[in-house]
Every structure is written in C-alpha cells, then in structure tokens.
C-alpha cells in the first residue's frame, strides 16, 4: 500500500504530514523546517521560487511574488509571473507540488494520494478549486477535509463521557468555528460557522495603515508612497511587529530609507504598544465572537454545554484573541495544542482512515452552507417569486439525501426551471448559483395542482446531484454539480496546467528528474529503459 499524506494548504504557511504506525508526523524540508511559507515567486533570472526563498524576495520584488493566494481560490483572479498567467489553482498547485517533492525526497517513495484541508466555511467553488489544485500537482485527492474538523481528530479525549469541544480556528486569512462532539473514536461535527475573509492578513493590513499614519505624523505629513515595493516593505514590517507583540508589550518598527525626498532619506521608526495593535483589530475579532454564538445556536447549545475550547491557527497566538474568547465563554477552559501543525496532523490521520490503515477514528461532518432552489414562496408581503427554498439546511450531516415537493405556480404551466443555489440569503439570487436545468412538457393542469419533487443528493466529495420529477407522468431531469464531466476545468486544461507547472519545477536547481533518478536508484531491481 502506498504512503498517504495530509496537507494543510494555508494562507500563510502550508505543511505536509504522514503516518508512522498510526501516528501522524510533519515532514520537514532539507533545513528541518516544518512549515512552507505559502509564497510563490519568480527570481530575476526567471527561476521558480517556492516558500522561504519567495518570501525573502517579497519586499524587494512584490511584482514577481505571490502571497496569500488562498484568498483568491474559487475566483477568476489571475496573476502573471514571468511569461505566463496563473490561476489561483495553479499557484496553489505549485505549493502542493513543492510539498509533494519534499515528502517524496524524505520518504524515498512516490506519493499520489492526499487529503487536503480547507476552511470549514469555504464555499463549493472554493473547495472545487482546491481539489483542482491537488490534481494539477499530481495528487489523487482522497478528500477535501474541513480544517477545524481535522484539528479535532488530533485531540485525544480519554474521558469516558463524550466531550463537547469548540474549535476556534483563526489562521492567516480565514476564520472558522466548529462545535464538535468527541466520544471515544467518534468525532462528530454539530455545527460550523466562519468567515472566509478574516485572519492574520487583515491584522497586518490594519497595522500597515497605522504605520503609514505614524510615518506621516513623524515627517510633517509626508505620505508613504503607494508603490508596490514600499507598501510590501511596510506590510512585512507590520507582520513582524504583530508577531513581536504576541510576546512583548511594546515593539519598535525600524524601516530605514523607506522614502527618499530629494536628497534626504526618511526613515520609519515607531514604537508600537500592544494596546495600539489591539485597538486596531478588536472590531474584527468581535465578528468571531458573533460566529461563536451562531454556531452554538445552530448546535442547539449554550456556553454551559461546552467542555472546552481549543484554539487553532497562528493568529490565536495573539493574547487578545484568547482573552476575548475566554471572557465570551466564561467558565469554559481554553487551551491550544500545536496551533500551526494540528490541522495537517489531523489530515494525515484522516488520509490513513480513507486508505484503510489501522487508524480507528470515525468522522461525521456537516455542510456549513444551505443548499436549495429558487421558488415562489408565501411571505409576509404575499407570494414572492425567486425566494430561496433550502432543501439541505446548513449544518446537515453529509452525505445526505433530501427531497421537497413543489407545485406549479400558474395554469397550464409547461415547464419548471430548477435553479440551484448555495447560501443563507432569503432572496435566491443573493446566494451562490450552482447551476440550473428545466423539466419540460409538463401535462396541462391548473396552477398548483401539479407536483414536482426535487431531490438533492450531496456526497462527501461535494458532488450534488439534483433530480426534479413531475409526479404525475414521471417527467424528470437532473443536474450533477461538480461531477467530473461538469467540472469547470476540462481534463485537457488540467493536463496543460500540469505540464506547465512540471516544466517550472524541472528548471529548478533540485529538479523532478533528479528526484526520480534518486527514487529509481533506491529500488534494487529497477532497469534503465
């Protein structure tokens, strides 16, 4: 049986983990580093840079460096590096491929199967983009796993009684809260909520603006230029100051020669108090507390029902985060464990379960967003068209099958249009459209007398099959969302992307061919072709 891996593809850092005798461990790079900074760049000689090397050139060459690509997953965003334009999937695939090579070089074996984690609150499009990234990198993606759920798999609950654990996961770019019941080997998610655009990156940006203000105060109103390089320096200085403020009450930011005015060079030198920083981010953190309340309500719980809170993600190192969570959930013990690693470790555990290794853990997860269709509905303002009728409500355990019966809305209606959406808004088109189809040639009947049953089948891989059946004559039609045939990326596109990224890696000092040669050398009876 091949080796399986779990990958935490993070906004700021990524990692790859595997199992040894059922125990997960993180695979380090040549230098012994466990985390791969999620940076991709091109050097001035057009050579691919991934991780540390790309991060190091960011302040000097932001136009040739990509960071925080996770925030663009599932969008049409594109970025140009060298002579090619890359989609978010492709940039993510470069990170994944780099992790894959790291693992193959340490384990001296080819690795193809992986579980990749995503924020629990990621939408369907974001999940599919992540899966595509995995495929471009050459993986068979066994499962797209929710990050807080992965983290929960790592906690060893030895208590006899089941424990209700709230996982608060605040990372570089995303925030999730999940309420999980852990009973022996069974980990069951009761509710998840979150924000796909809230994390350490936002705190950096707040502090970056604050530093710019401090600079102009110190230099008679001179503004920090808005060019990419200066802003990148300021952003990196902000990130370093943020990290320092997790351990110290004060920090000094020094960026010499930030701005040159005529012959004079202007320096940034500012002392930042932890309290200044806390005031900047407090409004953002308030949102996370509201998310806790909604998750609790969805799980039909109050704070008293929680046995503990576990903090996950690098941004939970900020002391204010812990203080706010503690005071919001009085009496519930708050702890943290390997905030950077536990998501990846949990992903490796789940990969082991799926590959049939002797890992005894059972996972029951939910879909964080409601799935439904547009329908005419009775509202306090009368009958309204294009309302969102949820068929699979949020926080339903998956896989699941649900049906609902609808009626035609006018006399002799010949067809119904089934428009499928994902989201929580009462107005259908305010949600994310997933596709639509029609059932036609309906028998002529008075309005309201014809019944159409709409059946939703949602599987663990996020494939949603919608079938609509007219109940009289049995006319029906169906739609599969995210099926291999309807995916947004054709297999031709996929192969092209894979080839383009492979060629980038081949030009790297440590190339794929070297690795393959190494691997061939390992097996005794391999022959030259």
């Amino acid at each position: 049986m091949g080796i399986v891996v779990g990958i935490d593809l993070g906004t700021t850092n990524s990692l790859i983990a595997t199992l040894d005798d059922g125990q997960p461990w993180v695979i380090p790079d040549d230098e012994g580093d466990l985390l791969l900074p999620s940076y991709v760049g091109m050097s001035d000689s057009n050579q691919l840079l991934v991780g540390q090397s790309a991060m190091r050139q960011y302040a000097a060459a932001p136009e040739r460096t990509v960071k925080s690509i996770k925030r663009q997953m599932g969008t049409d965003y594109s970025v140009t590096l060298g002579d090619r334009t890359y989609s978010p999937q492709e940039i993510s695939a470069i990170l994944l491929k780099s992790l894959k090579q790291r693992a193959e070089s340490v384990l001296a074996e080819e690795i193809t199967q992986a579980v990749i984690t995503v924020p629990a609150y990621f939408t369907d499009a974001q999940r599919q983009a992540t899966k595509e990234a995995g495929e471009i990198a050459g993986f068979e993606v066994l499962q797209i796993l929710n990050e807080p759920t992965a983290a929960a798999l790592v906690f060893d609950v030895r208590a006899e009684e089941p424990e209700n654990v709230l996982v608060y996961d605040l990372g570089g770019g995303t925030f999730d809260v999940s309420i999980v019941e852990i009973a022996g080997d069974v980990t069951e998610v009761l509710a998840s909520h979150g924000n796909n655009r809230l994390g350490g990156d936002d705190f950096d940006r707040q502090l970056q603006r604050h530093l710019a203000d401090r600079f102009s105060q110190a230099h008679d109103g001179t503004l920090v230029p808005t060019d990419a390089a200066t802003q990148a320096r300021l952003l990196q200085a902000a990130e370093q100051a943020k990290m320092a403020l997790s351990d110290h009450a004060f920090t000094t930011v020094r960026e010499p020669f930030l701005v040159s005015e005529g012959d004079a060079a202007l320096h940034l030198e500012a002392e930042i108090a932890r309290e200044d920083f806390e005031n900047l981010i407090k409004p953002l953190l308030k949102d996370t507390l509201e998310a806790i309340d909604r998750a609790l309500a969805d799980a039909d719980m109050t704070a008293e029902d929680l046995d503990r809170v576990v903090l996950v993600g690098g941004s939970t190192r900020i002391p204010l985060v812990q203080q706010l969570v503690e005071s919001h959930l009085p009496g519930v013990p708050v702890s943290s464990f390997e905030v950077d690693l536990c998501v990846g470790l949990g992903a490796a555990l789940q990969a082991g379960v799926l590959a049939g290794e002797a890992v005894s853990s059972i996972l029951v997860d939910v879909t964080p967003h409601s799935l439904g269709i547009a329908a005419v509905m009775d509202t306090p303002m009368g009958r309204m068209p294009d309302m969102f009728s949820a068929i699979i409500p949020r926080n339903t355990v998956i896989p699941t099958s649900r049906s609902q019966v609808y009626h035609t809305s006018y006399d002799y209606q010949e067809a119904v249009e089934i428009e499928v959406y994902q989201g929580e808004n009462a107005i259908a088109r305010e949600n994310v459209p997933l596709g639509s189809f029609r059932v036609e040639e309906l028998p002529p009947k008075p309005g309201g007398s014809l019944q159409i049953e709409v059946h939703f089948d949602f599987d663990l891989n996020g494939i949603l099959t919608v079938t609509a059946t007219e109940k009289g004559q049995g006319k029906k039609n169906s739609l599969a969302v995210n099926d291999t045939e309807t995916r947004r990326l054709s297999s031709h596109d996929l192969n092209q992307a894979r080839a383009a990224i492979d060629s980038l890696f081949e030009a790297m000092p440590f190339s794929l061919e070297d690795l393959e040669a190494d691997l061939a050398g390992e097996s005794a009876d391999s022959e030259e072709e």
Partner: protein, 101 residues
Amino acid sequence: MQAHLQVHYDRLGISPPATPSDIKAAYHTQLKAFPAHSHPIEFKAIRAAYEALRKAPKADENFFDVRPVEAKIDQSVVKQLRQQVSATVEVTLEDLILLTF
C-alpha cells in the same frame, strides 16, 4: 407511534425502550461498521434512524408517575411537537426511498 419507529430501532440494532445514551452508543457502533466514506447509503439510513429516535418521545417515561397539573399550554412544547411531527413525516419519506432499494 412506536410501529414506524421500529425500522429505525432495527437499523441501529436495538429494541425499545432505549435511553438516549443507548441510542447514541448503538449509533456509534453502526458508524464504525458503515463509515460514511465507504458505505454512504447505509450511513444515510443510520443517520436518519439516529435523528428520528433522538427526537422521538422517550419510551421509558412512566405514565403513572404523579406529575403537577399543567393548566396552560406551553408554547415551546407545541413548537417542539410540531417539529417532531414534521420530522416524522420527513423520515417516513426517507424510509420509502430506502425501502424501494
């Protein structure tokens, strides 16, 4: 009331009356035998059974226990009842689908 619940008890391999912790333990045992990733159809049936029995009125409540007389209608109970009824309807639909397999 109990008759249509029988299929759910059977699915979890227990018989009424069962306490909530019996139901949960039986559910967990079935999950281990039929994990979602390898047995999606069985998993859905197990989950439906668990949700139905969890919401069902407790079978072990003693009718002859002396209780204080309640004169007014508790709105939350009405709401709960309404939810239970609709849950049961939902479940029978699921059953029908499953039985046709």
